[in-house]
Amino acid sequence: MQNVCEMRQVVKRYKEVTALDHFNFEIHEGEIVGLLGPNGSGKSTAINCLLGLLAFDEGGVEVFGRPVSPDDMDMKQRIGFVPQELSFFAELSVADNIRYFAGLYESDNARRDVMVSEAVEFVGLEKYVKFTAKKLSGGLKRRLNIACGIAHHPEFVMFDEPTVAVDAQSRNFILEGIKEMNRRGSTVLYTTHYLEEAQELCDRIVIMDEGKNMASGTLEELIDLVDPTEAVHIAFSEPGDRVFNMIREIPGVVDIQEENNHTVILLTPPGHRLSALLEELKNHHISYTSLHSELPTLNDVFLKLTGKALRD
């Protein structure tokens, strides 16, 4: 599959701070790739390098097979960008904003008007086209921000944390919209702090920290990278050594921990051992009052790779 963009050994320094440290990364055509990382990990720096706006010290960046250049108008024509900050004209109406941004890519008035209508419909702002942008609610502003970035039907769209500070309904609407864009043929790069969004949306995930690519792959591939376990929380009717000794003998059990009023049994590989455990409990007539199982999540992978220390 052809690469839409590629970063090879990119180094970017801000004086003493290394924002990108030999960063490698690529996106294949038709993918939705999530770029995850803690604050200050270099996500926005990477995006700005891809956009050709930020100079880097070493390495190479290619988009659509060509070295990225701020003067490459053909490349810009094929790219869409939805920035983290709301980037439209607050004094203009919703329609005027989308029309202006679409007009930067499409000079034919008729085609531009079609783009505006489609973008308005796409983000669900039909009722607000005549509203002044600054009077919209936070969620609607986010949607307008997206409409301005995607109205021209770009082949490759970069979303830089587009769901910051929006409610659950708007977030869901935005994510569904991105999936729909992808179905229509756009390749998507999506950066976010919300791991569950990446888990839900992305075909492939890249985790970066301190300017480096820490890991990349599908969710399953990432989970496999970090020695995963499935946590089964059980409240036994009569807990005791007999029960724990019996459980320790069951294949796949790697640890047993006592927590508040229940026991946590760690199983590996995740998703394959729970039925065997329940069968053994039944065979040994061990009763319990509640049970639930937690499979490893992207959050576990993320914290394992990037650590739990607080970031700036």
Binding site: L51, L54, F101
Partner: protein, 350 residues
């Protein structure tokens, strides 16, 4: 060319839809000029005639009757004193040459000044001097005796340079290292030159519109006509607006200060230049003209205010061509230097 118009339409829409721009462009100048006109036109505007009585036999009676500001009532003797006590009149010029007033106030001061001046003239006659009233003792040069035209023209000069704010705004919308909006616009296939030219054109035209509204306001409301030489005046307003926008472009492009710093900088700069040109009164300007004459020679506000005054109040085109050339040449140089500052499209930091 189509993109040029698209950018121009954007700038025009922003100008008309931004309530802040409308206020600072149209309403604030009118308010400030009104305040200036009311404050400095003084007696001519608000002073009513001062009611007085003149006792029979007063040597000043004839001269007093010839003064427009005085309203001479027909009271004599005790009736005049009663009228003074009842506030029907503000003073009595008595036959012995003294002035009787009720207390201290504006009208009483006026009466005292008039009495004092008439006595000085009388003393001059008594000493054998005989002024020839058919002769003009004050030769009219290019200085007006009144302070109001100086202040109004200096204020107009300040507002004529308000294109500055358009210039700053243009840079902050297209230069990616200055604002998030500029980052977004820079990711699109936009010709920077087209964007800047459209912004400069609309910024200049909008500024001409603001200034013409002010000139019409001064003409119709305050009867100060700065449009008697209309075509030269419009040309002067146009090139001054262009210079202001170019100055804003230069300030916007030459550094990475945020726009919230560059706008107050512009406001302060305009106020200082206007003060140098006489907006805060002619005394400071006269002091500067004597001490540092080169300041006002190159002060754009002063160049504008001096030229518009000469064109319309004195009817002379002296310095007009120089002023137009100065604004045009300086504006072009500033634009050129600004575009040099803006030549980078890829930045060390955003």
């Amino acid at each position: 060319m189509r993109r040029f118009f698209s950018h121009a339409v954007l700038h025009v829409k922003l100008s008309f839809r931004d309530k802040g721009s409308l206020f600072w462009g149209f309403i604030y100048p009118v308010l400030l000029l009104t305040l200036m006109a009311v404050s400095f036109s003084g007696l001519k505007i608000s002073q009513e005639r001062v009611p007085i009585a003149v006792e029979q036999g007063s040597a000043l009676a004839g001269a007093l009757r010839g003064i427009d500001i005085l309203d001479i009532r027909d009271y004599q003797g005790d009736a005049a004193l009663t009228a003074l006590r009842d506030k029907k009149i503000d003073g009595i010029y008595r036959a012995d040459g003294t002035l009787l007033v009720r207390g201290k106030g504006m009208n009483e001061t006026i009466l005292r000044e008039i009495g004092s001046q008439l006595k000085k003239v009388g003393a001059a006659f008594a000493a054998g001097h005989s002024p020839d009233f058919s002769k003009g003792y004050i030769a009219r040069g290019d200085q007006d005796a009144g302070i109001l035209p100086v202040i109004l023209s200096a204020s107009l000069g300040m507002f004529a340079l308000y294109g500055y704010f358009s210039g700053v705004s243009i840079v902050h919308t297209i230069q990616a290292n200055l604002s998030p909006l500029a980052v977004r616009v820079s990711t699109a296939p936009v010709s920077r030159l087209s964007f800047v030219c459209a912004g400069m054109a609309t910024g200049t035209i909008m500024n001409v519109l603001h200034t013409v509204v002010l000139l019409l306001y001064l003409k119709w409301v305050w009867h100060v006509n700065y449009l008697s030489d209309i075509w030269r005046t419009l040309l002067l307003v146009l090139v001054t607006g262009f210079f202001g926008a170019a100055l804003g472009l230069f300030v916007g492009a030459s550094n990475r200060w945020p726009i919230r710093a560059k706008v107050p900088l512009g406001v302060a700069l305009m106020l200082v230049l206007s003060a140098f040109s006489g907006m805060m009164g002619s005394g400071f300007r006269l002091f500067l003209d004597k001490t540092f004459p080169w300041i006002n020679r190159f002060n754009p506000v002063n160049i504008f205010s001096r030229t518009i005054y000469r064109l319309n109040a004195l009817g002379t085109t002296k310095d007009f061509s120089e002023a137009v050339l100065f604004f045009l040449a300086a504006g072009i140089v500033l634009c050129f230097v600004s575009l040099l500052f803006m030549r980078n499209r890829r930045f060390r930091s955003l």
